[in-house]
């Protein structure tokens, strides 16, 4: 249970978290995660391979690594997982957003809506207001160019399609019309960006550029502003099931039953769109423990990569993580599209399988390079089973299926072990296969 929860709601277990959560019920463990403060980052500061500190505002590689570092060293991984969820949900890409402070400031904003120890009443409505009026979104969806003379429909469309409603409801009927998109876009016009001081960049409302006329959106009429049109959209009956289902699938691969969906929708709407009770309800749902003996959800690349770092007790000392995340198909701050990353089984193909194995191989190689021997220790009298066990402990004791254990033990027993070189190679192979093989891809 502890491994399941720490992977799904974080980046995998450490020996410390295993000890801290051991014996708790799912409810108690979840309550502890949700209530835990972010705390100070632990471990050494991230550096380049020449030992110099990261410069996230000067290099996009460093920008990505700085967030990864936070995920690796945070005291409460759930906060970073949820922050990443909001990044996926309100996807904006550094590729279209400059200066980079717009991205880091948005990241901080999303983190405030993910830290329920500090912000127990954080709610989705306020989050949409702030993200929509924030400079990163205004730039990414070109809302800053939308004026009453030249309405830009980009944000108005995504507000409904991707952020709040989805195209159709559960019965397959459209949630909104093209006219609703155009009318909503009129309401959201007039926002601009003041980024003269990039560190304090803000979106601001310029009334003279706003279309102040009457708009009819989703059957309601008024001289709507941005926030008012967000309220109209959130009052749509499809909003709660849409948001609830999306958040559910961050943690659970199978669809919620109709009864569960009703229950979650009720929890969410009755609390006034608060996020903490909803997150808690999902994480404590029995479906979290489905297939507990055989993990059944593919780890997103960021979870796999950060989890491997944590399992090995490594910090960021070069740009390896940046490179492998790109090869695995998920670079934070660079979602491929405004719809974010697709996820699920779509993560895996021949290319990404190689990249995922390469992640384990490269991290292990980096770890060995820090040892005096520049390689795993040679233990001459070690039995094949001992070699297996030592390798398993060295990579953080990840889940392995019985069949996988048999297969790796068979390898361990039959691998050449005459010379030190043979035995070290066996140790290298076992560790890489445990950390980067097919079983390591699920949580």
């Amino acid at each position: 249970m502890v491994d399941r929860l720490t992977w799904r709601a974080g980046f995998g277990p450490s020996e410390a978290s295993r000890a801290a959560l051991k014996g708790l019920s799912l409810h108690k463990a979840v309550d502890r995660l949700i209530a835990a403060p972010q705390g100070p980052l632990s471990g050494p500061e991230p550096v380049h391979n020449d030992g110099t500190p990261l410069k996230p505002l000067e290099s996009d590689t460093d920008l990505v690594l700085a967030w990864c570092d936070r995920m690796v060293r945070t005291g409460n991984p759930l906060v970073e997982r949820l922050t990443f969820f909001w990044h996926r949900h309100f996807a904006t890409s550094r590729q279209d957003v400059s200066p980079p402070q717009l991205m880091t400031n948005q990241n901080d904003l999303m983190r405030r809506y993910s830290d329920y120890a500090a912000n127990p009443t954080a709610n989705f409505r306020q989050l949409v207001y702030e993200v929509g009026e924030g400079p990163a979104m205004l730039r990414f969806l070109t809302g800053e160019n939308s004026t009453k003379r030249a309405i830009n429909e980009n944000y108005g469309r995504e507000l409904m399609e991707l952020f709040c409603l989805g195209v159709t409801n559960a019965a397959g009927q459209p949630n909104y019309t093209e006219t609703d998109v155009r009318e909503a876009a009129r309401a959201t016009s007039g926002w601009q960006i003041d980024d003269e001081n990039p560190d304090a960049a803000v979106g601001y409302f310029n009334r003279s550029r706003w279309d102040d006329g009457q708009k009819t959106v989703l059957g309601k009429t008024g001289a709507f502003s941005h926030r008012e049109v967000v309220d109209v959209v959130l009052s749509h009956p499809s909003h709660a099931p849409f948001l609830v289902t999306k958040l559910w699938h961050e943690f659970i691969p199978t669809a919620p039953s109709p009864a569960t969906l009703r229950d979650l929708t009720r929890v969410y709407t009755r609390s006034g769109f608060r996020l903490k009770p909803l997150v808690r309800r999902i994480l404590t749902h029995p479906a979290m423990l489905d297939s507990i003996k055989e993990p059944n959800m593919i780890k997103p690349p960021i979870v796999q990569a950060v989890g491997a770092m944590r399992a090995l007790g490594m910090g960021i000392t070069d740009d390896t993580l940046f490179q492998v995340l790109g090869a695995m198909g998920q670079t934070p701050y660079f979602p491929p599209t405004v719809a974010g990353w697709e996820g699920g089984t779509a993560w895996l193909n021949t290319n990404t399988a190689l990249a995922r194995f390469s992640l384990a191989n490269r991290l292990l190689a980096k770890q060995y390079a820090t040892l005096p021997t520049k390689a795993p220790e040679d233990v001459p009298g070690e039995t094949p089973v001992q070699a297996f066990q030592r390798a398993h402990a060295a990579v953080g004791r990840p889940w392995l299926a019985k069949g996988t254990i048999s297969s790796l033990r068979y390898y361990s027993a039959n691998a050449k072990a005459v010379s030190a070189n043979d035995r070290i190679a066996r140790q290298r192979v076992l560790r890489a296969f445990m950390l980067g093989g097919p079983d390591a891809q699920v949580m």
């Binding site: 895996l348 190689l354 070189n421 190679a425």
Partner: protein
């Protein structure tokens, strides 16, 4: 091999296109459909037949098994494929080469009015697009010019970024050299429809793409080419239709006929640093881990193991082989890489009837000039290079290339860019095609909610491709017809 696997399809958009916000969402590919198998592609097949004489040079099963393969195709079909049978089917079909289509989808909604300028209504065009319009004549340091299209295009002008010459696309070839004299005769090898779409236009990327891919104004579980393959294609040959992408395009989605996705012809290994291959072949060592069974409902773990196993298969096939030679003359771009691969596959007598390519980032709500112009330059040069490549391989006469996008863009600018519109630009390339301006321009005076009125139903072009090119009854493939093509035959 290096630690970073070669991922030719994943990097390049960044280099050549400023990705605009709304849409480069690649759901134009089918990702909910998992491949059933991976099929090797023989190196001998990929040598092609440059002299144009179709013959299956020694491509029997025995030599195939001996030489291995240099590429792998993900196979999509209703049932498991026996790849040796499939390969034999490919060889058998390849012995009788047929017409082929290449579908290039410009992802995001290309702005046709800034590609082919409505020069006959230049004042209205200029008025609608301050800051965005092309100027007339040569480009200046700050503004892109336009060049009148000869012959049937005399009321239109190419944006100079797409035509040949220094200060234009910088190459000796481009849209203009493909267009020729625009007469529809010899050397006039590009057909242009200035307002192709459907009515009423639905300005959603996703709905519009689905309609274009389905060849119908509704969402369908099969694509128009997929339905053609089901009815007229092979029951065994997954290489009859290939998406040069990580997944298959909805255009070639079938009910039962197998199709495939090919991303790269490069090989790969599971490598562990510090472990010599002659001590432990780590790729082979991965095979047993991929064969461990998973619970019946555990789709995701089963998928993880299956993909690792498939990777081992690919590695086995590629291990001893070098890459296929690629033709030169293309601009450096991801589109070029894929067109080079297309030319290789089309000339390999694999029974390939259709290839799809999903390329670019044309959703230019903002920064349109910076985003669209370099892509038009790349497209014009790559298309011309592709045609030359096909000609050198002796197969140009049997390949028809169609370039399309999910919609055109709003006539009036939104300051810096254009919003989703209707009436997009469609082009068909090939010496078999009757070139020239093949569709009416609807004019800028009367618009439909700010968009061009549609003068060409895209289904009429599809119907002609079925009836005149691939062969078959258009009504059996494109529902809701007939859709006669205005202005007569597509071919000729």
């Amino acid at each position: 091999m290096s630690d970073s696997p070669d991922l030719p399809m994943m990097d390049p958009g960044a280099a050549e296109a400023i990705r605009c916000a709304d849409c480069a969402r690649s759901d134009s590919l089918v990702r909910d459909l998992d491949p059933v198998d991976v099929m090797p592609i023989s190196p001998e097949a990929l040598q092609g037949f440059p002299d144009g004489v179709p013959r299956a040079r020694g491509m029997d099963r025995r030599s195939f098994l001996r030489t291995g393969a240099i590429g792998m195709a993900s196979v999509y079909a209703a049932t498991q494929i026996d790849w040796t049978r499939a390969f034999e089917a490919a060889v058998a079909e390849g012995a009788d080469p047929a017409n082929q289509v290449v579908m290039i989808f410009l992802n995001g909604g290309n702005d046709g009015l800034n590609t082919v300028v409505p020069n006959g209504e230049y004042a209205a065009y200029l008025a609608a697009r301050p800051g965005l319009a092309r100027i007339q004549g040569p480009s200046t340091a700050t503004q892109v010019g336009s060049t009148i299209m000869p012959g049937t295009g005399d009321q239109h002008a190419w944006a100079n970024v797409g035509i040949s010459g220094v200060g234009n696309n910088g190459d000796t070839r481009g849209f203009d050299t493909l267009w020729g004299d625009g007469s529809g005769g010899a050397g006039s090898d590009l057909a242009v429809w200035p307002a192709a779409d459907y009515t009423p236009a639905n300005r959603s990327h996703f709905d519009s793409r689905d309609y274009w891919f389905a060849g119908a104004l509704q969402k369908m579980s099969t694509g128009w080419l997929g339905r053609w393959l089901d009815k007229y294609g092979s029951a065994d040959n997954p290489l009859q239709a290939i998406s040069l992408d990580s997944s298959i395009s909805k255009q070639i989605r079938t009910a039962k006929a197998p199709v495939s996705a090919v991303q790269s012809l490069n090989g790969v290994e599971f490598r562990v640093d510090g472990v010599a291959t002659n001590l432990v072949n780590t790729t082979e060592q991965m095979a047993p881990l991929s064969l461990v069974g998973a619970g019946a409902d555990n789709i995701e773990l089963a998928k993880a193991r299956e993909v690792y196993g498939r990777t081992v298969q690919v590695s086995r096939s590629l291990r001893s082989l070098a890459g296929a030679p690629a033709a030169g003359g293309y601009p450096a771009s991801n589109l070029s890489q894929r067109l080079q691969l297309a030319a290789t596959l089309l000339s390999a007598n694999l029974g390939t009837k259709a290839i799809t390519i999903d390329w670019g980032s044309f959703d230019t709500h903002g920064n349109q000039l910076q985003s669209q112009d370099p892509q038009l330059t790349t497209l014009s040069r790559a298309l011309a290079a592709f045609k030359a490549d096909l000609t050198a391989r002796g197969i140009e006469g049997r390949v028809l290339t169609l370039v399309f996008s999910e919609f055109g863009r709003r006539v009036e600018t939104n300051e810096g860019g254009t919003d989703h519109g209707a009436g997009g630009l469609m082009m068909a390339m090939g010496s078999a095609v009757r070139g020239g301006m093949r569709g009416d321009f609807p004019g800028l005076t009367v618009l439909d909610r700010g968009d061009l009125r549609v003068t060409t139903d895209f289904r009429s072009v599809y119907s002609s491709i079925v009836g005149e090119w691939l062969g078959g009854e258009p009504g059996a493939v494109i529902p809701g017809g007939p859709f006669p093509l205005a202005g007569g035959a597509l071919i000729g």
